[in-house]
Symmetry: D2
Subunit: 335 residues, 4 copies
C-alpha cells in the first residue's frame, strides 16, 4: 500500500493510549504521526514510555489544529464528549473512554457522577463491539464508542446464549482483572506493588460502572462483582447462570455464532488469562452443573487489547475500510 | 509450664506438614519431637526445608513405634483412614487429609475415587471447625478431621446467615486460591512458575471435592467453582446469594455469632488475601445488591493456616486442654 | 512474667513501624501500648492496618507526653535526631531511621542531603548490629541506631571474612531488594504494581546512601549497586570479592564466627529470599571461582525483619535485659 | 510478496520453539508449515499451546522427510549436532541449542558433559549475534548457531567497550533471568510457582555453561553468576568492570557502535526487563563509580526473543535475504 493513513493518539502515555501506539507500530497501513500528553509534551514518546520506540515527540492536545485520518481519544471520562463531535467532522474518532457507551445519557449522573454534555448528539456514536453489533453501524460511523473491558469479556460469553434462549434468571458475573484496568496515574497507596503483590481482593462489590453497559446489550439485570488480580493485564469473567442447556448446547451456540470470527475462540479446558496476553483474542469455555442447574461460562481477554486498545484498532480498521485483522496479534505472549 | 507436650508430624516436608512444624516452633506448650518423610528420612528438617530451623532428623513413618501426645497426619488422602483408628488409642490425632471429613462415607467413591476402609468407625471423628461446631465435640475427641480450605472460608461466611434465616436459594461460591492448595509434589507442567506467573484461571469448574463437605454443614446444595491465583497462599471466597437481608443485618448476624471468637473478624472494606498471610484469621465483608436482591459475602483466609495447619493447631489446643489461641498468630505478614 | 514492659511505636502505619507492631503482638514480655500516626490519629490500628489486630487507637506523636519503657522511632530520616536525645533521658530508644547510623556526621550532607542537628551527641548511640559489634555497647545504650537493610545483609557476609583476612580488593556488592524497602508512602508511578509486576531493574547504580554505612564497619571502599525485585519483601546480596580463600575456608570462618548466633545460618545451597520471609534469620552461602580467583558470597534476609523491625526488637531485647530471641521468629513463612 | 517461504520448527511446544511459532504468525514473508513434537504429535498446535492459534498439526520429527526453506532446531542440547549437517544440505538451519556455539569443541565435555559428534564440521556454523559479528558470515551460512541468552545480554554491553579499549580487569557479570530460561519441561519441585513466587535466589554460582561462550567473543575471563527472578521472562545483566572511561565515554562508544542497529538502544535511566517484554530489543544503560573506578553496565533483553527466538528469526531473515527486521517487534508489551 503506497499511502499510509495517519493516526493521532490523545493521551498517549496512559496504559490504553500507549497500547494503541504499540499496536500501531506493527500496523501495515496506519502510522502514528501525533501523540499527545499534557504533562510530557516536548518529550519523545520513546523517552516518556521506554517500552515504545516511536520517535514522535509528544505534544499538547489542541483539537482545532489536529489533522489525521483517525484519532483515538484515550483520556479520562468526561473529556471526549466535549471534543468528539467537532473532531468527527474532520476525521474518524474512536473514543476509548466511557463517554458514548451508554445510549441512555440520563444514566451518566448516577453511574459516572457527571451530566452528559452532548445528550442529543445525532447520529449517536456506534457501539464498537464488532462481534455483537451490526458491523455496518461501525463502518458507517464517524465516532465509535469503544466498550468497557469487563463488558467485552462478559458480553462475548453471554450474548449468543441470551439470543439463543439458553439462559434464564440473573447471571452472576464474578470478574477478575489485572491492575492496568485502573489506569496508570493512580497515586493511592493501595495500587503499590508492595500492597498488591501476592494478594487478591474484591472491590466495588456492588454498583460498578460497567453494570449498565453490560445490561444495555444483555437486555436484563446482572449481578456483577469485580476483583483485583495481582498481575498487570488480563480479565477472567466467570459467569454462573441458571440454564437448562447442556454443555454441548452452549458450545454449539457459540460455535455457530462465532464461526467466522477471527478474535473469538472456544476451547475444551478453562482458559488462563496469560494465553491472551498482548493479543486481541477472547477465549471461551463452558461447563454445566447438573446438581444446581447452572451453566458456568468462562471468558478471558487481555483487558488492554480486546478490552481496550486492540478493539479500538479493530474498530478503526472497520471505519477506514481496512482488513479487520490488520495489525492485530491473535497469539498471546507466553510464558 | 514445666513439662512440654510432644507432637509428631507425619508428612513433614509437604506444605501443610511443614506449616504445622513452623507453627509449633513458636508454640509455648507443645514441641515437635518427631517429623516423618518417606523420601527424606535421615535428613535434618532444616536441610530438607531450609525455611525451617528445627534440628529434628526426619524419619520414616512407623505407626507402631510412634509415641507422642498428638500426631498430625499430613499425608495424601487415603492414608489416614488406615492408621488413625489404631493411633487414636494411644494419642490425640489431627487428620489434615479428607479421610474423615464426610460422615456419609458412601460419598467417598463418587468424590474421592476410593472406598472408605473404616466406614463404621465409632465414635466418628469430630469435625474440627471450632467456630461452627460444638467445641465439646472437639475437646472430647481422639480424632479430629481438619476441614478443607475452601470449606472453611465458605462456611465461616455462610453458616451464621443460614442459621439466622438470612439466605435463600442456592449460594454461588466463586472461590480463588493460591497454588499451595495443590500441594508441593505436583510435577505437572501447569504448576511451573513460568506457566502460572501473571496468569489466572478457573479449574474444576464443576464437581470439586469440597462441594459435599460444604453442603454437609450448610445443609443444602451450593454452586461452587474454584480458580487458581498466581500467588503462593491465600483463599478468597466470594459468595453471591439471594437474600432479603440488608447489609446491616448481615453484619449484625456475624457480629453476634462471632462476638467471642479470636480468629474471625468482620470489616468495612473488602479484605485482601495478604492481610491474613501466615495468620489464623478469617476476615469477612458483606455488601448487598439491591438491584438483584443478592447478598455478596467475601471471606478470606490463609489456606495453609486457618485453612489447614493453623486450624489443626487450634484443634490440637482444644484436644489437649490448652488455650485455644496458643501459638497461633492473628496478625498477617504484610506487605 | 507478671509485669509486662510497655512499648511505643512512632510512625506505626509505615512498613517498618507496622512490622514492629506485628512482632510485638507475639512478644512474651513487651506490649504495644502507644502507636502514633499523624495522618490516621483517632483510628484503631486494626482499622488503619487491616493485617494487624491491635485495638490500640492511633495518636499523634507528642515527645513530651510520651511514657514507655522503650520507643521505636520509625519515621522518615531527619526526625529522630531532633527528638531522640530528649526521649533517651526517660526511656530506651531504638531508631530505625538513618539519623544515627553514621558516626562521622559530616557525611550526612553529601549522602542524605541534610546537616546533622546533633553532631556532638555524647555518648553517640550504639550501632545495633548485635552479631558484629560488642553486644555490651547495645545493652548499655539509651539510644541504638538500627542498621540499614542492605548494610545488614552485606556486612553479615563480609565482616567475618574481612576480620579473618580472607578478602582482598574492593568487594562488588550486587544487591536486590523487594519494594517494601522503598516505604509505604511512595506516590510515584514507578512503584505501582502495574509498572513493576513481572519486571526487574537496577536503580541508584552508584551513590546509594547505604555505601558509607557499609564502609564504616567494613573498613574500606565497596562497589555497590541495588536492584528492585518485583516482590514485597526480601534482600539478596551477592558479593564478588577477590580472595585466595577456598570455599571451605569461607565456611570455616563463618561457622566459627557465628557458632552461637541464633539468627545467622550457613547452608550448602544458595538461599532463596523467601526462606526467611517474616523471620529474623540471615542465611549465608559461599562458592569459590577458581578461574578468576573470586569468592562469591550470597546473603539473604527479610529486609523488614532482620533488615529493620526484627533487628530493632532484637536490640530492644538486649537493651531491656530480655532474652535476645524473645518474640522473634526464626522460621520463614513458606511457600 | 507473492510466494511465501516455508519454515519448520522442531520442538514446537517448548518455550523457544513456541516463541518462534508466535513470531512467525506475524511474519510477512515466512510461514510456519511444519511443527514437530514427539509427545504431542497429532494434536493441532493451538490445542497443545492454547496461546497460539496456528492450525498446523504437530508431527514427529523425521529429518529425512523434511522439506522447508528454513528449519529451527529447538530441541535439547546434543540433538542438533546429529541432524544439522545433513539438513543443511537441503535448507537453511537455525540451531537454538548450544551445539554449535563453541568453536573449540574440546570444551563440550567439560561444560556440557558430552563429546561433540561433529567436531570437524566445515565450514563451522556461523555465530548468530548479528550486531557483533560480520553479518556476511550469517548471510552466507547454511547453519547458524543462535547464541545463549545470558551471552547475548552480556556481550551486547561489553564488546563495544572491549573493542574500544575501555575495560580493564575481569568483568563481574551479575545476571538475573526469568524462569523460562530453564525450559518448559522441568519437573523439579523447585520450579513450582509455590516455591518461586515472591522469591529470588542465585544458582550455579560458579561454572555456568554460558561462561566459555561469553569468553569466546569477549576474549578474556569473566566472573559470572546467574540468579532466578520470580518472573516468566526477561534478563538483566549488571556488569561491574574496572575502567578508566567516564560515563560519557561509554555512551559515546555504544552510540557509535550501534548507530544503525534497529534492535539495540541506549537510555539515560536503568532499563527494566519488562520494557522489552515480547520484543527483540536490547536496552543498555551505563554509570561510572568514581569512588572505586568501575563502570557499571546494565543490559536487558527478553530471554525468549532477543535471547532466543527473536534473534533466531533475525538470523533467518539475514540467511534468506529478507529485511533483517521483518516480523520482529521492537516495542515491549507493557505493563
Amino acid at each position: 500500500m503506497e499511502t499510509r493513513l495517519t493516526a493521532t493518539v490523545v493521551g498517549a502515555t496512559g496504559y490504553t493510549g500507549a497500547e494503541v501506539c504499540r499496536l500501531l507500530s506493527n500496523h501495515p497501513f496506519v502510522e502514528l504521526t501525533v501523540a499527545t500528553s499534557e504533562r510530557q509534551a516536548g518529550t519523545p514518546l520513546f523517552a516518556a514510555c521506554p517500552w515504545l520506540t516511536s520517535e514522535v515527540v509528544l505534544s499538547r492536545f489542541d483539537p482545532e489544529l489536529l489533522t489525521a485520518d483517525v484519532v483515538f481519544l484515550c483520556q479520562a471520562n468526561g473529556m471526549a464528549m466535549k471534543v468528539a463531535p467537532a473532531l468527527s467532522k474532520r476525521m474518524k474518532v474512536v473514543d476509548l473512554s466511557a463517554d458514548f457507551r451508554l445510549k441512555d445519557t440520563t444514566l451518566y449522573p448516577e453511574w459516572y457522577g457527571f451530566e452528559h454534555t452532548s445528550p442529543g448528539l445525532s447520529p449517536w456514536p456506534a457501539y464498537g463491539l464488532p462481534e455483537l453489533v451490526d458491523r455496518g453501524s461501525i463502518t458507517a460511523a464517524q465516532i465509535v464508542a469503544n466498550p468497557g473491558c469487563y463488558v467485552t469479556a462478559s458480553l462475548l460469553a453471554l450474548v449468543p446464549l441470551m439470543k439463543g434462549g439458553l439462559v434464564s434468571g440473573v447471571p452472576v458475573i464474578d470478574a477478575k482483572s489485572g491492575v492496568s484496568g485502573a489506569g496508570r496515574s493512580r497515586s493511592e497507596t493501595e495500587y503499590l506493588l508492595g500492597e498488591l503483590h501476592g494478594s487478591f481482593k474484591a472491590y466495588k462489590t456492588t454498583g460498578h460502572r460497567h453494570i449498565p453497559e453490560i445490561e444495555q446489550l444483555f437486555g436484563g439485570p446482572v449481578r456483577f462483582t469485580p476483583h483485583l488480580l495481582p498481575v498487570s493485564r488480563g480479565i477472567c469473567a466467570t459467569i454462573h447462570v441458571a440454564s437448562s442447556a447442556s454443555k454441548g448446547a452452549v458450545y454449539d451456540c457459540w460455535t455457530r455464532f462465532y464461526a467466522d470470527e477471527p478474535f473469538v475462540r472456544t476451547q475444551g479446558a478453562p482458559p488462563s488469562t496469560k494465553q491472551v496476553h498482548g493479543s486481541n483474542t477472547c477465549a471461551l469455555y463452558a461447563d454445566f452443573d447438573e446438581r444446581t442447574g447452572h451453566a458456568v461460562l468462562v471468558s478471558v481477554i487481555d483487558n488492554l487489547v480486546k478490552g481496550a486498545a486492540g478493539q479500538a484498532v479493530q474498530n478503526m480498521n472497520l471505519m477506514l475500510g481496512l482488513p479487520e485483522v490488520a495489525g492485530l496479534p491473535t497469539d498471546g505472549v507466553w510464558p
